[in-house]
């Protein structure tokens, strides 16, 4: 159809888009001129406009720092491990909840399971020390009463990785189930009955009905996660991490915090941020493309 006819038919959709688009432009694209800081020797008082242009010098500096590569490696490593462990956990938990027949328990546990998401990381840090500490942590005390030698959950770097993952799952799995539970409501219950008549057991039903029903959600979340492979939250590694395992716990976010915010070197911080943004975008577009080819689901 012609442009005129198209607009006459669909103008309402564009009317709906107008304000939200304005939001994006004002609040998201408006401040983007700040990316320039990565290319300038930022002087607080001359502002972004008045600061001197240095081109890629700051990039060269950051890419020359050994710490940058270590923290990058750690970021990728921790994110990858999280993908293996923390990504499936909410899914499994959601399915377990979905299959729970005792209704009052199902509702109660849903609420309790996401409580950890609300506890601030500072407090979680204290709890982690109490539970996993070597000298007098709860678990090690228990082991000691059986005569087993203490395990350094937090001070040995490989053990720490496991602890880090466990704490991550504990903190986020419950909350992560919510989106899956919402998606599960869209599955036609009659399908389960039909499958049951055909002789399918619980696991087969889950495999052939539940999971496929969740496919769109899983794929979208997976693409998002892959896109953020080079980004990582600040709090979990900072709070759970410590001096003894810094080799693994120092990540891009703590690196930026240290060189950028603590020493006011905004240029360097912006450089890392820009690096993460570009790489992240590439990852998202890449996984989106792959997903389209493989599963027919995609974002773009």
């Amino acid at each position: 159809m012609s442009m005129g006819a198209y607009l006459r038919r669909y103008w309402q959709l564009y009317a709906l888009i107008a304000l939200p688009l304005a939001y994006f432009i004002i609040f998201k694209y408006g401040p983007m001129y700040g990316i320039q800081i990565a290319f300038k020797d930022f002087n607080f008082f001359q502002g972004i406009g008045g600061s001197e242009w240095i081109g890629f010098e700051a990039f060269r500096e950051v890419f020359g720092m050994r710490d940058f590569y270590i923290t990058l490696r750690n970021t990728l490593m921790l994110n990858f491990l999280d993908l293996l462990v923390s990504f499936p956990a909410p899914l499994i938990l959601a399915i377990m909840l979905y299959e729970m027949k005792v209704v009052w328990f199902k509702k109660l546990s849903q609420t309790i399971l996401y409580i950890p998401h609300f506890i601030s990381w500072v407090i979680i840090g204290g709890i982690v020390l109490q539970v996993f500490g070597t000298q007098s942590g709860m678990i090690n005390n228990l082991l000691a009463s059986f005569g087993i030698e203490a395990i350094p959950f937090l001070t040995d770097k490989y053990n720490w990785l496991v602890t880090y993952l466990i704490v991550g799952v504990w903190q986020s799995a419950g909350w992560g189930t919510i989106i899956y539970l919402a998606a599960l409501t869209g599955i036609n219950k009659e399908l389960f009955e039909a499958a049951g008549i055909d002789g399918a057991g619980r696991f087969r039903k889950i495999w052939h009905i539940t999971l496929p029903g969740l496919k769109p959600t899983i794929v979208v979340l997976l693409i998002m996660n892959l896109g953020h492979m080079v980004s990582i939250g600040f709090e979990r590694p900072y709070i759970i991490g410590n001096m003894a395992v810094r080799e693994f716990s120092d990540v891009l976010s703590t690196f930026v915090y240290r060189i950028g915010l603590e020493s006011g070197q905004y240029t360097l911080a912006t450089v890392v941020g820009l690096f993460q943004a570009v790489v992240g975008l590439i990852f998202v577009l890449g996984s989106n493309y792959i997903s389209k080819k493989l599963t027919d689901e995609s974002i773009l």
Partner: protein, 538 residues
């Protein structure tokens, strides 16, 4: 379809229009008025025109009921006693204490709402602002308007606010420069019939006895030496291992990271780490010391009676409801004796002390109220204004004994709440100022529960024994500003890694960490300091 749906669809449209209008008008308003902030009360404070002075204040989130951080007894006192007579409205701009550097950076960078008086504890931040040209030269203003302030602070303190020859900051004066003391369980010594250790070797023997004989009957949970990753716990020990150096060596090899001096490159540092390694591997310090970032675990262990000995900020154990108080409640008969035990090769109990300055108070160059700002600081340094801000109301908060204010035993809630922010309001001073260090220490000791008075005085005395000052550089070292925070982390990591290494791996761990440290900026600092020394000394 029913009418309801039609109505809601109709409702959306005008609402959307309203939103668009709102956004548009806000943007328009912004464009027009962003320039006018500064013009509002421009010009000098003459001819009876009331002006506003904006002063930064730390917010710790502990305002008592009925008061806020911007409206409380002390802010009202300032307004009445300083603001009104000078036709100035004093406005306080709160900054969360734990974000002070970050928020200040944002305020300064965005150029619009900067208070007329800002401050920071971080010397690097001060240097950065000075270097980038954002601060006002307060020298002439001080000369003209602030004789009392200058006299109060003194040349030595003021010198810390000088950057490349210009007075860009007004440092606060510290009332007491002693930092650390060590503490030992007196009752344990008595039980074991052992004397108070006076050298590091004696301490070692004592620690071993604590571990083997467990005088505290902790059931094997005894931690002879309380340790964390905070400097107060390891500095007295480490510095005592540093060998005597020439002036040149001290100057070039010391590394100033953040606000303190660190001995990474000084001779003897490796020995200190070796000793820590020995202590750790023999189970004399907690296996989790590296995890205790905020001393909370150590605090628990002290209160539980597990710890036999530790170093700390001199008066920390003595607060009401603090470590010693709780310890004695939990274990009757327990007591902590302040001792000095880390003796260096010259027989001295070498420990660092604070520089004589506290906060760096600055006036942004963009401020129109510089004169008023200086007058405010001058007012604070005059007559009894500072005294009042630090001590409160006679008869309600304190009584005078001689000329030393003694805190009243059980002040009323109102009196107590009056002073909740006194430390943060009295910015020209860090600690109570009574004219001499002796009086200051006395007043400080009197702030603690009476039964601890003697111990507090002893701890203070120890904290001021054999101390050495941070090395003064007349200009900031670039490499230090740049790499300071990174190297600080690496320094701590080095301590942890070498301490926790297996004895046979100590050497390799030490080498590896030192190497990394040097590559990450340590070498750069060394080079710069060496060059500076040559320049200053020919």
């Amino acid at each position: 379809m029913s009418n309801g749906k039609q109505r809601s669809a109709k409702f959306r449209k005008p609402m959307k229009t309203a939103l668009v209008l709102a956004l548009a008008s806000m943007t328009l308003l912004a464009a027009c008025s962003s320039k006018s902030d500064k013009g509002a009360d421009g010009g000098a404070n003459g001819a009876g025109e009331r002006v506003t002075l904006k002063v930064e204040v730390f917010d710790r989130g502990n305002s008592p009921a009925g008061a806020t951080i911007t409206d409380n007894y002390l802010t009202n006192y300032v307004q009445e006693s300083f603001g009104n007579p000078n036709n100035i409205k004093v406005e306080y701009v709160p900054v969360p204490r734990s974000e002070e550097v970050e928020k200040l950076n944002v305020l300064m960078a965005s150029g619009g709402n900067v208070p007329d008086i800002v401050f920071t504890y971080d010397p690097n931040t001060f240097h950065r602002y000075a270097k980038q040209g954002g601060l006002l030269d307060v020298g002439p203003l001080l000369d003209e308007h602030a004789p009392n302030l200058k006299a109060f602070l003194g040349e030595e303190v003021l010198q810390y606010g000088v950057y490349e020859g210009t007075q860009f900051a007004i440092p606060a004066k510290r009332s007491n420069v002693g930092k650390y003391a060590s503490f030992i369980r007196e009752d344990w010594l008595e039980k074991l019939g052992m004397p108070v250790p006076t050298t590091t070797d004696e301490l070692y023997e004592t620690l071993k006895a604590f571990k083997e004989k467990d005088p505290g009957e902790t059931g094997g949970q005894v931690i002879p030496f309380g340790m964390t990753i905070a400097s107060a716990q390891y500095e007295p020990l480490i510095w005592s291992f540093i060998k005597p150096t020439t002036e040149e060596e001290a100057f070039t090899l010391t590394q100033q990271l953040g606000s303190n001096d660190y001995p990474t490159l000084l001779p003897g540092f490796k020995d200190a780490l070796q000793f820590m390694n020995k202590l750790y591997n023999e189970g004399l310090i907690s296996k989790d010391f590296a995890l205790d970032k905020d001393k909370k675990k150590m605090g628990e262990d002290i209160a539980n009676g597990k710890i036999g000995f530790y170093s700390e900020d001199d008066v920390n154990p003595f607060y009401d409801n603090g470590s010693l108080d709780t310890l004695q409640t939990n274990i009757p008969g327990a007591n902590l004796k302040p001792i000095d035990v880390f003796q260096n090769s010259e027989g001295k109990y070498a420990k660092p002390m604070y520089a004589p300055n506290g906060m760096y108070i600055m006036i942004p160059k963009s401020s129109d109220r510089a004169v008023e700002a200086i007058k405010y600081l001058e007012w604070m340094a005059s007559e009894d204004h500072l005294f009042h801000m630090q001590n409160g109301v006679e008869g309600e908060n304190y009584t005078l004994e001689g000329d030393i204010p003694v805190a009243i035993e059980n002040p009323s809630e109102e009196a107590l709440n009056r002073m909740f922010n006194s430390g943060d309001m009295a910015i020209i001073s860090n600690g109570k100022q009574l004219g001499s260090m002796e009086k200051n220490l006395e007043a400080r000791a009197l702030q603690f529960p009476k039964p601890f008075y003697d111990q507090v005085q002893e701890a203070q005395r120890i904290a001021n024994t054999d101390t050495f000052a941070p090395i003064v550089l007349d200009r900031p070292i670039e490499a230090q500003t740049k790499y300071g925070t990174t190297l600080l982390e690496k320094f701590n990591e080095m301590i942890v890694a070498t301490t926790m290494a297996k004895p046979e791996q100590f050497e390799s761990t030490y080498e590896k960490m030192l190497n990394d440290y040097m590559k990450s900026g340590g070498q750069a600092i060394l080079d710069e300091r060496t060059a500076l020394y040559k320049e200053l000394n020919g």
